[in-house]
Amino acid sequence: MSDAAYSRFKSKKRSERTINALTLLIVIVFALIVLFPIWWIFRTSLMTNPEIYQYPPALLPKNWLFSNYEKTMQIFKFWKYLWNTMIIIVPSCLGGTFTATLCGYAFARLRFRGKQLIWSLCVGSMLLPAMVTLIPLYIGWTRGLGLQDSYLPLILPYFCGGGAFNIFLIRQFILSIPRELDQAATIDGAGYFRILFSIIMPAIKPAMIVVAMFIFIGLWNDLLQQMIYINSSDKYTIALGITNFKGQLKQDWSMTMAATCLSFAPGVIFYLIGQKYFVEGITLTGLKN
């Protein structure tokens, strides 16, 4: 390399390093800002009630009262709510992933009459927000099918493809798998279902995990639907538990915040576990609209 080029290279490397260092700094600052509200909730959960109302507000609790969590667990039925939430989420994730895969496969690989039409209807339903169909669905489930105070209205819809966004995702994924694999299997005598199960599914595992995660997060946060279909308090999910806890007459902010932090935990843990697949999945989607 010539001298000029070398010095240009070196200075570029240096400036790149300073930019990187600067970037790291900015990232750290933003990360702190982003984490701050979460810290706020956490520190409130560790204080006594009078401490919370103090002004000026304290950044750190005086005593780190982890005993608040014990007290809270006695009243806030965390495990029960978690169990209830899982009863809803697990079948939905499984059902949703499975049916999304079926549908995505059909759109990606198979030829049939009406494909364009059904696909357009599918895409169209993506643009239909949940709110729009909330009322008739509510009437249909509770009045028409008599499903009062039940989890079924929350779970069953996921067996119908798991939401058009997810079908779309799987479809994109399958499209990125070379057809030669299919054809090889066909020549070996495999039918369409065999191809789906033996070849396609293993290949799109990251996508399936991504879909499961999307469903998980969607359900985890879905306060409105849960509020509408669930009545009795022993069927409460985490989201409902927190809302009711907050509204209970015995207002105790530190416990409310402790309950909130407890409700954070499963979501975060699940995310950390699935993160690896998740990012892989997003990257591989290609997202070419």
Binding site: Q148, M227, Q251
Partner: protein
């Protein structure tokens, strides 16, 4: 590959299994639904069928699981005391209580009886959903206070399950520190609004120790406030009435909130924050008004409902808080509002007589003593207010402030002429009206608009809301 297929089949069966479990568990946990649900499709089961057949009725209430259990314990006592009626309690959380009931009504699956939110009673009544309960107390030794009967078209359609009035709470320690005399607990010594504000000013300090009206007082750095008045729409009626105005005419059909007296009262409440600087901005969304003010030691006086004695103040008292109860200040007339969720018998029921019998038993104070002795509920029957022995039984209680104080500020106050029923006891469409009023007054609290402007602009809409149009 083969393993994939095996795993896959396992997944499918898990899904189906879990789905079935979820379905089954919901069916098993809903014994309430089947009796009343099937009752509507079977030929009517008359109550004169052989008395070996226990009549099963359901009672719905709002509250947490804890509260539901407590109520079921009371119901079990009732069930054990006779063998004709069996009561099952259904506890539904407060936020979605009315929504759930509405759904059940649509599905024809209402419980036989239950508690109904105050602002829904007249509406449901006018839709024919409630039974007339005026016969409930014929022949009893005591009836509920007059102000606790919900009336529609001259008939009593519900009695309040408990009594609640608005009080002035105050933090005794804060008063002692500032060497200011306590607010009066006797109605004849009640403060005027001016006296109230003047006292509040003595108890409001900024970071330099200055009071409002003193030189150098900085409203932006107040560390302690003197007073806080709840600005929930339904409570504002008390102040409007006190000033000679009001929200509605006596029969609830005409709207009076546009009158100058009503508007002035509302503005004065807002001015506590805007002009007098004795009150924090009232957020009004949360349930913890007393927590944020009296218990936290941030505000010396606060208006709120009597239930706070039981919901938050008793725990605080145990932790060392010294608080007192007093009567509300007044503008021209002495007014407080009383209210209470209504116990109703739904017209869809097949067992009206049994339902009434249960209600009467349940609301007899001895039978839900837990809620009364904790201070959350006040009794409904007149005798508890007039018969001193009963009053002692009620108020002589470590949970409560000193007997004389509570008796004067609460018991006597509640049966005095100052206690008026909140509008929803006789007015329809109070939910719409209150929501609209709350939205109308949104900018009044922050001073962006005056009460006069806000209400005048929206008067027609308020009137329409009262009529039930939107």
């Amino acid at each position: 590959m083969k393993t994939m297929k095996k795993g896959f089949m396992f997944n499918v069966s898990m899904v189906l299994l879990l789905g079935m479990m979820a379905g089954c568990s919901t069916n098993n946990n809903n014994p309430n639904v089947s009796p009343t649900g099937e009752a509507t499709s079977k030929p009517a089961v008359t109550t004169t069928s052989p008395s070996t057949e226990k009549v099963k009725i359901t009672y719905s209430m709002w509250g947490s699981e804890e509260e539901g259990k407590k109520t079921q314990e009371a119901a079990d006592k009732f069930n054990a005391s006779q063998n004709r009626i069996e009561v099952k309690v259904q506890a539904i959380p407060w936020e979605n209580y009315m929504t759930k009931l509405n759904t059940q009504a649509t599905a024809g699956q209402l419980p036989d009886t239950g508690i109904l939110k105050e602002d829904g009673v007249i509406q449901w009544s006018s839709d024919g959903m409630l039974n007339d309960v005026s016969s409930m107390y014929t022949g009893s030794d005591s009836k509920p206070l007059d102000s606790l009967a919900y009336k529609y078209q001259g008939k009593t359609v519900a009695y309040a399950a408990a009594n609640e009035i608005l009080l002035l709470y105050y933090n005794k320690d804060m008063f002692d520190k500032a060497k200011v005399p306590y607010p009066p607990s006797a109605l004849d010594k009640a403060w005027t609004w001016e006296e109230f504000v003047a006292t509040a000013k003595k108890l409001t300090v900024d970071s330099n120790g200055k009071h409002p009206d003193e030189d150098g007082f900085k409203p932006q750095s107040i560390v302690q406030y003197g007073a806080s008045v709840e600005n929930l729409a339904w409570q504002l009626e008390a102040w409007a009435l006190s000033n000679g105005g009001g929200f509605y005419s006596n029969d609830g059909t005409a709207v009076r909130i546009g009158e100058d007296a009503s508007i002035e009262a509302i503005q004065k409440v807002a001015d506590l924050y805007l002009k007098d600087h004795v009150a924090p901005l009232s957020v009004g969304q949360t349930d913890d008004g007393i927590q944020r003010t009296i218990i936290a030691g941030k505000v010396a006086m606060a208006t709120n409902g009597a239930w706070n004695v039981g919901t938050s103040l008793n725990a605080a008292k145990d932790a060392g808080l010294k608080y007192g109860v007093a009567v509300l200040p007044y503008f021209k007339e002495k007014v407080t509002l009383n209210t209470g969720g209504a116990n109703v018998v739904f017209s869809q029921t097949k067992h009206p007589k049994e339902a009434m019998e249960w209600l009467k038993w349940y609301t007899a104070e001895e039978n839900n003593w837990g809620l009364i002795s904790s201070g959350i509920w006040m009794p409904t029957l007149k005798k508890w207010y007039t018969d001193e022995t009963l009053t002692h039984k009620w108020v002589d209680n470590p949970n409560f402030p000193p007997y004389n104080e509570y008796k004067s500020a609460v018991v006597d106050y509640a049966q005095s002429s100052a206690a008026r029923p909140a509008a929803w006891f006789y007015t329809n469409h109070t939910t719409d009206f209150n929501t609209l009023l709350a939205s109308t007054l949104g900018d009044v609290w922050t001073g962006k608009t005056s009460a006069k402007e806000a209400i005048s602009k929206n008067l027609e809409a308020l009137k329409a809301a009262n009529k039930g149009q939107k």
